[in-house]
């Protein structure tokens, strides 16, 4: 039995009754609040992750704008915020954008979509996945609490600073646990015939992403352990005050920040293939490009606060210079895919392409640092621009993913108009935000979280950057409104005519994802008819 021409339900119906799978007594799943709080269904856990991350992302965006307005004159704590609050606001924005927003939101999307894409009936270790969310949520709540009582890095209340270090560690533990679940699902829960080279690109990109997180975030955890012990016991190992933030700032900076943007590449490839209803040419190159970009996102060695010389090492500069290449390869493959079919401008495609273009700009900005000398641009607004571009690219990809798989994630088709407009607004906001920052960085303006005095005439640039940040926030709000604004109707399970396994099940998917056993997979696009004799699926 193969799944080349028919969805699993139809193909499997003949044997479903004879398997142990269908002998399971159907029971009513818990509903209401118990169905949410006690659930270990990967779709429920994923939705919880997404919801919590969007709320925290809103807080992160608002604090970013507040910090930006305060910094319009080029100094911190002299206008809108006082000198003690301003660094707290800025560092909350910087750390929460990655740890409390992008990473958990992408993990949530992955938890919903990846098991469906690889034909798994559940995520690996479903209870661990649920535990990862609740661990993350408790950690995130305590982090916000710590900040709210003056306890961020360099905060004025000692116990609250300890709480911040511990709760941030808890957030990382939660994310690591979730990463193990997602990566294991791709590695060990694929149906027969779905070799790793046949895994959909989004699932492959999430495998790369979660593995890179598993290989880098523990370093952050180690730093936080030392930081906690140091601060709590007054050992004086790390600098106190606002400089404490330098120990954790690497998470949002090149090269580590790219680890948050790896799914961009997988999403655009899946979006292009689905929108054009054609096969992805040269899957090997695509998987290689995503894998290479993931490797270039390993930044755990670049703890410049501990070893400043790392920024000058050839490997660091080489990674920065090479980062645009995988993005260019993916863009080329997207072009070939679209050329091979009749693409429709779906939200997934539009958002994916815009996210990739912004990511390309981000990598080019990052690649410029070695020419300038990394330490010259370090701590300037140039670095901030690079981080902003990368993180907004990841945000656009997140939005595109939520719209593309809205029938799977939310059980309803989202507004396509909003799905195309929101990424445009986000991309425009990213450019309006980052271009003035980059120019300011070239003139030597220090980063918002760094020391230094204001440069003359910097107000206009900072003002435009704040407007860009406002556009990004507006785009995010528009995206959320478009997701929740449409009433549930009789939605088609597959609004796009997709070719991968997630489109072979109901929307929203049943508890065990597929009604029966997933039949043997014989091609990377199991729901597409074979195109030619030399098709990949023919040799399976």
């Amino acid at each position: 039995m193969t799944a080349t021409q028919a969805p699993p339900t139809a193909a499997a119906s003949g044997t479903a009754d004879s398997t142990a799978a269908t002998e399971v007594r159907p029971l009513v799943a818990p509903t209401g609040l118990a169905g949410i709080l006690a659930s270990s269904d990967h779709k429920v856990v994923g939705r919880l992750y997404i919801g919590a991350a969007l709320l925290l992302g809103l807080a992160s965006g608002v604090t970013g704008i507040l910090g930006g307005i305060d910094r319009v004159d080029g100094t911190l704590g002299n206008t809108l915020l006082d000198g003690e609050t301003a660094p707290q606001v800025v560092t909350f924005h910087a750390t929460s954008a990655t740890l409390l927003f992008i990473l958990p939101a992408l993990l949530g999307l992955a938890m919903v979509v990846v098991p469906l894409q690889v034909g798994a009936r559940t995520i690996a270790f479903p209870r661990a996945a649920a535990a990862s969310f609740w661990t993350f949520l408790v950690g995130a709540g305590l982090t916000v609490t710590a900040y709210s009582i003056n306890g961020g890095p360099g905060g004025g209340r000692s116990d609250a600073v300890d709480l911040w270090a511990a709760s941030t560690g808890l957030v990382i533990v939660g994310l690591l646990l979730g990463s193990v679940c997602v990566a294991t699902t791709v590695l060990a829960l694929r149906p027969e015939g779905m070799y790793l080279e046949r895994v959909p690109m989004f699932a492959w990109s999430l495998l790369c992403t979660t593995v890179i997180w598993l290989l880098t975030l523990p370093v952050m955890l180690a730093v936080l352990v030392v930081l906690f012990l140091d601060h709590r016991n007054g050992a004086g190992f790390f600098p106190t005050g606002p400089d404490m933030y330098d120990q954790v700032a690497w998470l949002g900076r090149q090269p580590q920040v790219y680890a948050a943007a790896i799914p961009v590449l997988g999403l655009v490839l899946d979006g292009a293939a689905t929108a054009s209803r054609s096969r992805l040419p040269n899957r090997g190159a695509a998987m290689g490009a995503i894998g290479a970009f993931a490797i270039l996102g390993i930044g755990a060695f670049a703890l410049t606060a501990i070893s400043p010389a790392v920024a000058q090492q050839p490997v660091t500069k080489g990674m920065a210079l090479l980062a645009p290449l995988p993005v260019l390869v993916v863009l080329g493959l997207v072009g070939l895919t679209l050329k091979g079919g009749k693409p429709a401008p779906t939200s997934g495609l539009v958002g994916g392409v815009l996210a990739t273009l912004i990511l390309l700009v981000a990598t080019l900005v990052g690649a410029a640092t070695p020419f300038q000398g990394a330490l010259e641009l370090a701590d300037t607004q140039w670095v901030t621009a690079q981080s902003h571009l990368t993180l907004v690219a990841a945000t656009i990809a997140l939005v595109a993913g939520l719209y593309h798989w809205s029938t799977k994630v939310f059980g309803r088709a989202a507004s396509e108009a909003a799905g195309r407009t929101a990424p445009l607004v986000l991309a425009l906001g990213a450019l309006v935000l980052a271009v003035p920052e980059a120019i300011s960085g070239l003139t030597g303006d220090r980063a918002a979280d760094g020391p230094g005095e204001a440069l003359a005439g910097i107000e206009a640039m900072n003002g435009v950057a704040v407007a860009g940040a406002g556009l990004v926030l507006l785009g995010g709000v528009l995206a959320v409104v478009g997701l929740v604004g449409k009433r549930r109707t009789d939605e088609p399970a597959d609004p796009w005519g997709g070719s991968t396994l997630e489109w072979a099940t109901a929307s929203p998917p049943a508890f065990a994802n597929f009604d029966g056993p997933v039949p043997t997979v014989t091609s990377p696009e199991p729901l597409l008819a074979p195109a030619s004799d030399d098709d990949d699926g023919e040799d399976a």
Binding site: L27, T122, A222, V223, L229, A493, T520
Partner: protein, 216 residues
Amino acid sequence: MSTATATHDEAAYDLVPEDLEPGVARPRVLLVGTALAGAAIIVFFAGLIGLYLRVRHGVITGPAVDGEAPVWFADGQTLPLTPGNVAMGTMLLSCISMQWAVDSVKHDDRRGAFFALAMTVLFGGAVINATSFLYTQSGFALSGGTNDAGLLFYAVTGSHLALIVGALLFVVIMTVRTLGGEHGSHDREGIVAASLIWYLTTAIMLVVWYAVYVTK
């Protein structure tokens, strides 16, 4: 298109292995997950021990203090080797008992498996005891301010103690499951996964023992 069918959690999870065609190897989900978690643990300790070694190297190769060669440990701070050696030796012994447990499960020897796992847990407890004793002998005072050596010593060894506790919990869970008949020659995945984490814990201890206790 398929229709949604609500099924109970437990039932749905049990579907995973049964879905496979006869003759298809059962996916080693727990082993893969354990390997990934193990990789994260290795990176965590690589970061901690790397920081310890880098800072220590910076201190002992740094400028003289008051005309005297710089030292890593301050006056009153010492690391007696005996408790560390005892802990290391006990940990190595526990690996033998752990492998014994794996082998017993392979041969459906539940009594032997239980005995071996109980010994492993006992050895683990002894290592915690030896390390705690070392803390009382070392002269490092964490509270009330300490130097870099004391801070990083507690960060590295304390984290490893936490790892031992976590690994012990894993072993205990697998012991209970083995007693319940879940693991046997038909399915050794759980006990092998527990042994994987235990060996990793031992390997990390070997590095800590050499980098922190022996070379000081």
